[in-house]
């Protein structure tokens, strides 16, 4: 099976996103994301996919809002290491060069949280509490994703189990390659606005690559002026791209305080 050289990535159209949160819900259901007794403290809630609310900072009536969904960026890093991968002392998180996905092995994680300190996107979540499943829900947990226990870190994996399932099916049908839509993440499928496109950035036929641009998909800064990534200047080389026609949105992607932009916005 030649599955070498795939590099899965995502493009999120911020002009289309309405902030409905379907992606968050789909992600939670798909990946057995646990609940806890009191969900009011969002700083200890687990949301692999999180929707941020951005504003242009102007008073009414010039206020504009943009919703920015943030999964794990599946960073590739400058040396093939995402910020979180190189720091994990137990190799509980790893970069898979055959798919470009940063995996997470909960049973090997021992909860030092160094990866959380390393991730600038806050895409990693610690299980502060024992998981709680509301009555009857335990029976409907997905058998494809192992539930995580207290004391370990978890994060979005681009629904990696779906990739495995798709590959198994293809293998069963004596195929080596996947069709573009055979492997899709739960959030991509759930988005009612069609704001999320998912595919192989190394495959020039995939829609995501066509929009992002094949060169950009290989680590360069997107040439399409509407396409950008978060915090590119840090060298994390994310595989999640965003697009927006609004300049103020694009400006919030990177810390350009050193160039006099975005200064004092906190």
């Amino acid at each position: 099976m030649s599955n070498h050289g795939k590099k899965y990535g995502m493009l999120i159209d911020l002009d289309k996103c309405t902030g409905c949160g379907s992606c968050m819900v789909a992600c939670m259901a798909e990946n057995n994301v646990p609940f806890k007794k009191d969900e009011s403290n969002k700083l200890v809630s687990i949301t692999w996919m999180r929707v941020y609310r951005l504003t242009n900072g102007k008073p009414f009536p010039d206020t504009e809002i943009c919703y920015l969904p943030r999964p794990c960026m599946q960073c590739e890093g400058e040396h093939g290491h995402s910020p979180c991968v190189s720091v994990c002392p137990a190799v509980a998180t790893d970069y898979d060069f055959s798919t470009g996905i940063v995996s997470q092995i909960p049973t090997r994680c021992f909860g030092c949280r160094y990866c959380m300190a390393a991730c600038p996107y806050h895409a990693r979540y610690f299980n502060w509490y024992d998981p709680i499943w509301p009555k009857g829900m335990k029976e409907s947990l997905s058998p494809h994703v192992s539930p995580r226990m207290r004391g370990v870190v978890e994060k979005c994996t681009f629904c990696f189990h779906r990739y495995q399932q798709a590959m198994e099916k293809a293998y069963y049908e004596s195929r080596e390659e996947l069709e573009e839509n055979e492997y899709q993440t739960a959030c991509t499928q759930a988005c009612p606005a069609g704001a999320i496109i998912f595919g192989d950035l190394n495959n020039p036929d995939h829609t995501v690559t066509r929009v992002v641009g094949p060169d950009d998909a290989h680590g360069g800064r997107p040439k399409n002026p509407a396409v950008f990534r978060l915090l590119e200047r840090l060298g994390t080389n994310p595989k999640v791209y965003y697009t927006s026609t609004r300049e103020w949105v694009r400006r919030q992607a990177d810390n350009d305080a050193a160039r006099g932009e975005n200064a004092g916005r906190h």
């Binding site: 403290n41 700083l43 200890v44 941020y52 951005l54 920015l68 890093g77 400058e78 290491h81 910020p83 190189s86 720091v87 994990c88 002392p89 137990a90 190799v91 509980a92 090997r108 994680c109 021992f110 909860g111 030092c112 949280r113 160094y114 959380m116 300190a117 390393a118 991730c119 600038p120 996107y121 806050h122 990693r124 979540y125 610690f126 502060w128 509490y129 024992d130 207290r150 004391g151 370990v152 978060l230 915090l231 200047r233 840090l234 060298g235 994390t236 400006r251 919030q252 992607a253 990177d254 810390n255 350009d256 305080a257 050193a258 160039r259 975005n262 200064a263 004092g264 916005r265 906190h266």
Partner: protein, 410 residues
């Protein structure tokens, strides 16, 4: 009552008074143990850490005690390898303090992971690229070395020393102590350094990230340097506190002044290196990440420029100047002041590298995160202090920690 256990020729307070003191500190210790058990049994939800603040109070305490415990390896290095003979009068105590600091650090780490039973994964599945792996290995090895350095002192206890085997074992261990001092210095270089590296390699966090010198970020060297510089100040400070409590002079001035002088020069050179590092980071590294220096020190309720001044000037330059001047270190009050400031300075440095790193927003639309530790975190952070006080109390009472005590208190 326990006079048969007390080193010959020295006086100790009455046993009931000693027991009273031990009980008072023991109560604090138990409070910490209770909090520790809560963290293990109920989980880290007992803390106020969160997904933004994954490292918090006790990680700072961990880094701080390791830095302050640096007096053990550096004093050992000066005594056994450089040949500063006068330090033989303080080396025992430096080893006791180092032992306390490092065992505390390991205890804190065991609490921190919340799942101590899984702690061995770090050795079993070791990722050689991770700075934390280096920390874990060097820390454990160095703790073993410190234990080996501590054992002869225990064997010299009046009653134990009567056992011929223990007597010879202790004596022979003393003979080869230079080997362990050298091993300890080597291990310390790497684990102090890798603790600095833990923050310095976080290229996703421009507040912590530093360019590399050889294969290490500059914080690697700064951490080792600062621990070697300020650790001896902590040794001096604890010695002075012990002297004040026991109302006895325990270590002669030559040992203290030699240590103080070397520490002073080390702090001065460290502060120069730290300043160069900070300037380069502020002018080159941070702007490359899109940040200005001001951004790290403004728009929040706590982290202002004052912290930089407190660390570098108040806790660095001032104690360095006091300690390198003969007049300064010969004045008992100034000496203690300098030692306190140096310890505060290095603690602020470790605070900044752990907590401010977490607090600074990196994504442009994020906000500063401040946190207040829960009582469980405070109790478990105080726990090692209580444990240290107890160990020093017992060591002072029953072990020949201070070879000059008899001659200084005729």
């Amino acid at each position: 009552m326990d006079s048969a256990l007390i080193p010959e020729g020295v006086k100790r307070c009455p046993l009931p008074l000693f027991i009273l003191g031990v009980l008072a500190v023991g109560a604090v210790l138990l409070w910490g143990v209770y909090a520790m058990l809560l963290c293990w049994i109920k989980g880290l939800n007992q803390t106020n850490m969160n997904d933004y603040y994954g490292f918090a109070l006790w990680i700072w305490a961990d880094l701080a005690v390791i830095a302050l415990g640096g007096g053990a390896f550096f004093t050992g290095l000066l005594r056994y390898l450089v040949g500063k003979d006068e330090l033989k009068n303080i080396i025992n105590f430096a080893v006791v303090i180092g032992f306390i600091c490092y065992s505390s650090a390991l205890l804190i780490l065991a609490i921190d992971i919340g799942q101590p039973l899984r702690g061995w994964f770090i050795f079993w599945h070791a990722n050689v690229h991770s700075m934390l792996t280096e920390v874990a290995f060097c820390l454990s090895c160095y703790f073993a070395v410190l234990t080996i350095e501590f054992v002869p002192l225990v064997l010299e206890q009046r009653q134990l020393n009567k056992v011929t085997f223990f007597h010879h074992l202790g004596h022979n261990m003393h003979e080869i102590m230079a080997v362990f001092a050298a091993t300890g210095a080597f291990l310390s270089f790497f684990h102090q350094g890798s603790l600095g590296g833990v923050a310095g390699v976080l290229y996703g966090r421009p507040f912590a990230f530093r360019e590399s010198l050889l294969v290490w970020p500059s914080t690697f060297f700064l951490f080792t340097w600062s621990a070697a510089a300020c650790g001896p100040c902590f040794t001096i400070l604890v010695t002075k506190i012990t002297e004040a409590i026991t109302r006895k002079k325990l270590v002669g001035d030559p040992a203290i002044h030699t240590l103080a002088k070397i520490s002073g020069w080390m702090i001065l050179t460290y502060i120069m290196a730290k300043t160069i590092d900070t300037v380069y980071w502020a002018l080159v590294t941070a702007p490359e990440g899109g940040f200005t220096l001001g951004q790290f020190y403004s728009h929040n309720a706590f982290y202002g420029y004052w912290i930089l001044i407190a660390e570098v000037i108040v806790g660095g330059l001032i104690p360095a100047l006091i300690l390198i001047s003969e007049k300064g270190r010969n004045n008992p009050r100034m000496l203690v002041l300098a030692a306190v400031l140096a310890c505060v300075g290095i603690s602020i440095n470790r605070w900044v590298m752990v907590l401010q790193v977490m607090a600074v927003p990196v994504m442009p639309f994020d906000t500063w995160q401040l946190y207040i530790p829960s009582w469980q975190e405070v109790a478990t952070t105080i726990l090692p202090v209580a444990y240290g006080v107890l160990l020093i109390a017992f060591a002072h009472r029953y072990l020949p920690v201070f070879p000059q005590e008899k001659e200084l208190n005729p």
